[in-house]
Amino acid sequence: GSANEEGASGGLTINGAGASSQEAAQSAWRTGFLKNNDGTINYDPVGSGGGREQFTSGGVDFAGSDAYLDDKEVKAAQERCGEGGFVEVPAYVSPVALITNIEGVDSIKLKPETIAKIFNQKITKWNDPEIAATNKGVDLPDTTIVPVNRADESGTTENFVEYLEAAAPEQWPHEVSGNWPVEGGEAAQGTSGVVQAVKNGSGTIGYADASQAGDLTTVEVGVGDEFVKYSPEAAAAVLDVSERAKGRGEHSFAYDLARDTKESGTYPIVLVSYVLSCTNYDNADKAAMVKDYFNYMISAEGQKAAAEQAGSAPISDELRSKIQPAVEAIGSSNSGS
């Protein structure tokens, strides 16, 4: 252990908790940030709910969350942070890939309606005419479709379901939540569980963080008249066409994503994960460190590090310029002392 640098002892510690989807990115940010700064940063991947709860109760200095705060939480957060309110910015954007394991098929295109029908178990065979229609020239087998979903409540599910509801409202009558609403599919824990299940099964299709798709076949998703394969740029593009949610304070950049976009070159199934902090900390050093850390996270450099480590999609410069002022607002009322 002697090889480790001072660690906990050197400088300040700031603690975070929240979405486990951000864990890999947080690790990259932490490492990158601490190369040039002193101190310690911890991040407990207890889940978005836990992260938000601990943030609003004052247990942690910052939080990561796959969903933005709801109204009740906004109030709690404002109460915790006091005067200046809280900072809520998207920092982690990750495309959600549809992964399949169908014998003899290594590329497949699906329209949103078809995807909804598949996951709603209305289409049950891979050689269904509806699938065949968008996959001319692909030799689709006569196997049963096994849809794989997340067993645990997750931001990935919530974002995917949101997409289905927006892009194929007719075929997807279910309510949006982090819980998978359809019974009878294959359920697996965590991203790795879904990937595992898709890999081990046959005729399987699932949704997972694109970074974990590995060598599984990914679905090209129908957007407007074209089919888009996931890519970081295509994913990040969604944020640029989306609306910012209103009435949540000036430093809150929560987005209602335009899932039904027809915009060419956007990949609409994305997970957007936020980081949360207060604008005001009693401890000036801490405030400075949080601010620096947030700055690093959204910086081009930070986004690149996350992309390299966690496979996320870097946010666009345009978005960065929009959210930068919120991060700049972090400070301390005790800064004089």
Partner: protein, 361 residues
């Protein structure tokens, strides 16, 4: 003689031997059973290799064939009792082999995947500043030892004393209640234990508290019932005769317990304690909410986050990022280390119990 009233009455029937089978009659030929075993195994192998059946049905079939043939043959030649004995022998040995399958499979999986990262860096570095490849588990290893050690320090005395209370002192309502609720405690899901410990520490230290000792408390909630139960069972097996022998020497009860009862039951208790440790050392959820997760070394259980091997391994596995291979290697390596730690503990427990165990058998 004045004892005529109690003289047993004449009883011709009882007083003639039943006459049994001749000593050598009704024996399967020597080597019959092993021979049959080999024959069924070979038949199974043939089915597998030549007929191309799957290995599992082949093995099952071979085992079933062996059992049936030996049983019927023995029943015909040696009679039902001997046949049953052979049947049970086959079943018991078969059960043992069956249990070895998952064990071998699990160990093979862990060792083959875990050995990948058994290098010096792995054992001497923490995860500070590590992205992608490299990195080590030193911090998590120490965290595991500290937190589990503390948990054992809390639960072993409490658990053993409670078991002693239940077996040696406990009468009446209190004892009943304790026995009963200890059982109930075995069913607490680990995450609930973690949340409970967290809530407890929040009451004392305020929200967001993360410290090693909170993790140890959470683990204790899970560990105590195992310690109590296994110790209790072992104490109950100590013959009353020994307690009486000690009391008769004017030895007070507590000394009798400490010096006679406990040493007699020690081997079993040691096994129970290691089981309890093994039960909790692999917990993740309760530790994440109480002790948290950190990249660096922190060996102070009363301040700040501590990583344990299981939590480390779990999160290396579930959120590997793009360098999944490196992450998975670390996850499996940590798991292997975890198993080795428990093995060593087990070994120590065995040595302890050997040193103090009854020298009878």
């Amino acid at each position: 003689m004045s004892t005529s009233t109690t003289t047993p009455e004449q009883d011709p029937e009882l007083h003639t031997p039943l006459g049994g089978v001749p000593l050598t009659a009704g024996q399967l030929p020597r080597g019959a059973a092993p021979g049959m075993l080999v024959a069924s195994a070979v038949a199974g192998l043939l089915l597998w290799l030549l007929a191309g059946w799957a290995i599992v049905p082949c093995a099952l079939l071979a085992a079933a064939a062996y059992v049936v043939i030996v049983y019927t043959w023995s029943r015909a030649v040696e009679g039902p009792r001997k046949a049953t004995d052979r049947l049970v022998t086959a079943i018991v040995s078969g059960a043992f082999l069956l249990a070895l399958l998952p064990l071998i499979s699990v160990l093979f999986t862990v060792v083959s995947k875990g050995l990948e990262r058994f290098d010096a860096e792995f054992f001497t570095y923490s995860m500070v500043g590590v992205t992608g490849e490299g990195g080590g588990i030193y911090h998590a290893m120490m965290g595991t030892l500290i937190i589990t050690g503390l948990a054992a320090l809390i639960s072993v005395p409490i658990g053993m004393l409670t078991a002693i209370y239940l077996v040696e002192y406990g009468r009446g309502k209190l004892a009943k209640a304790i026995t009963f609720f200890v059982d109930v405690m075995t069913g607490i899901p680990s995450i609930v234990a973690g949340l409970f410990a967290y809530a407890l520490f929040v009451m004392i230290f305020g929200p967001g508290v993360r410290m090693g000792i909170a993790g140890a408390v959470a683990l204790s909630v899970l560990m105590i019932p195992t310690v109590v139960r296994s110790t209790e069972e072992m104490l109950k097996l100590v013959p009353n005769e020994l307690r009486e022998a000690s009391y008769a020497l004017g030895v007070p009860r507590w000394r009798t317990i400490v010096k006679v009862v406990l040493p007699t039951a020690l081997a079993g208790i040691a096994t129970g304690v290691t089981l309890a440790i093994a039960r909790v050392i692999g917990e993740t959820a309760p530790l994440l909410v109480t002790a948290g997760l950190t990249d660096g070394d922190n060996f102070d259980p009363f301040d700040g986050r501590m990583t344990t091997l299981s939590v480390y391994s779990y999160y290396e596995y579930v959120s590997p990022g793009l360098f999944a291979e490196a992450s998975f290697d670390r996850a499996w390596g940590a798991a292997l280390v975890l198993i080795i730690i428990v093995m060593v503990l087990n070994l120590i427990a065995r040595i302890i119990s050997k040193l103090f165990a009854p020298k009878t058998r």
